[in-house]
């Protein structure tokens, strides 16, 4: 490889720009720029999948990158549909490159997973899926960051990590560590962290976790009521 490292940042949130994944990628992009790498244009997977020409652009960007970082939420214990679709497309493309003997092995593939639940077991399966994908298509595993209780960062309201104050502190520190490693062309560690302190849902302060739970649940009921709806509706009950 010659010249600066080329880094491709992908957003795999179905929510698009107003998402925690976008907040993560924006923060990482600034870190990467400071490290002197060459960031390729950030790509949001959702809109890309709707247009064949854009799919080609995604695959070309993957080919051009030395490092790929994907930030995506956890949906139903695994990747969102749009991310699986993009992975399937990338895999077919990589296999075509192998056939044409054009494949360049070893680009780093790293992921940031955002999970609404606070416990660590929720993200373990998806990290294993991403690792298998990386192995299968000839990428080098570049490490991962699992952000638990990530809804607290309010990315879906368009908040950045800098808006997150102390809640986002640990996430930002972990992204700095990730950027340090990846910018040197080295894999980062596999890290996991909860945005809310673990003591809030496990241990002596778990009553605080119960309070947040109550607040969250009450919030949904109020939101639906405000729209004239019953949050407990059972529209498909036979």
């Amino acid at each position: 490889m010659t010249g600066p490292l080329r880094v491709l940042l992908l957003v795999g949130s179905p929510r698009g720009r107003r998402s925690t994944s976008t907040a993560v990628v924006s923060y990482l992009l600034n870190l990467m720029k400071l490290k002197g790498v060459e960031p390729l244009p950030v790509l949001w997977i959702g809109p890309i999948l709707r247009i064949q020409e854009k799919i080609s652009q995604l695959l070309e960007a993957v080919d051009a990158a030395d490092v790929i970082v994907l930030a995506a939420p956890l949906y139903d214990d695994c990747q969102p549909y749009i991310v699986i679709k993009a992975m399937e497309l990338m895999a077919v493309h990589q296999k075509e490159l192998v056939k044409a003997q054009k494949k360049s092995d070893g680009k780093l593939f790293s992921v940031v997973v955002n999970c609404a639940f606070p416990e660590r077991h929720h993200t373990q399966t998806v990290i294993r899926i991403y690792r298998k994908f990386a192995e299968d298509v000839g990428f080098q595993w570049g490490g991962s960051l699992s952000i638990r209780a990530g809804e607290v960062l309010r990315g879906r309201e368009g908040k950045t990590l800098d808006d997150g104050g102390s809640m986002a502190k640990k996430v930002k520190e972990a992204l700095v560590r990730m950027a340090d490693s990846l910018a040197k062309g080295s894999p980062s560690a596999d890290e996991t962290m909860s945005v809310i302190p673990e003591a809030f849902y496990r241990g002596p302060f778990s009553f605080l976790g119960s309070f947040f739970l109550w607040l969250n649940n009450r919030g949904w009921a109020k939101l639906a009521k405000k729209k004239g709806e019953d949050v407990n509706a059972r529209p498909y009950a036979h």
Binding site: S19, Y75, Y81, H121, D230, R234
Partner: protein
Amino acid sequence: MKALILNGSLERQTHLMPIQDILESEFSSAGWECESLTLHQIKVGTCIGCFQCWDTTPGICFQEDQGREIANKAINSDLLVFLTPLTWGGYSSELKKAIERMLGLLHPSFIKIKDSYRHEKRYDDYPSVLGIAVAEGERDSECDQIFKTLIERHSLNWHAPKQRAEVFLDKNDDEEIRKGIKSLLAEFGEKK
């Protein structure tokens, strides 16, 4: 007893069809009512994570397409079969697209069960889950394990009364597959 088979084959993939046929015939022999949906043939919009199915039209996705009908059929079945090409241990995109449209079947509120947070039930009863993946080529025991863990975890969050998962190889012959499926279905034979 009703079973709903969600076939997550990608377009032009045919290797799941023999398994779907065997499942249908075994369900029929066991006296089940069974419906199969080949998802790539059905136009279903993608979940955009807007949560309108929780706060605006609780229980119903705002998208007026077949995704709603799939969710309705799923919650009113006794057994939901996730049939998928094994995709790095996970689901295919086609299957996942349909699964995501079922988010409204769960309640937005969190509940803590056995030290783990989950979404509360919206309905009293949820279907059991049978995950069947088909791997191409040789067996990769790590992918098999990932798939089984995924089904186990997903079923917990889905409040499924029972769950099982199995991975078959596309080179398995029909008799091997039939034997495996018979043994799996035996575990779902009784009313939940």
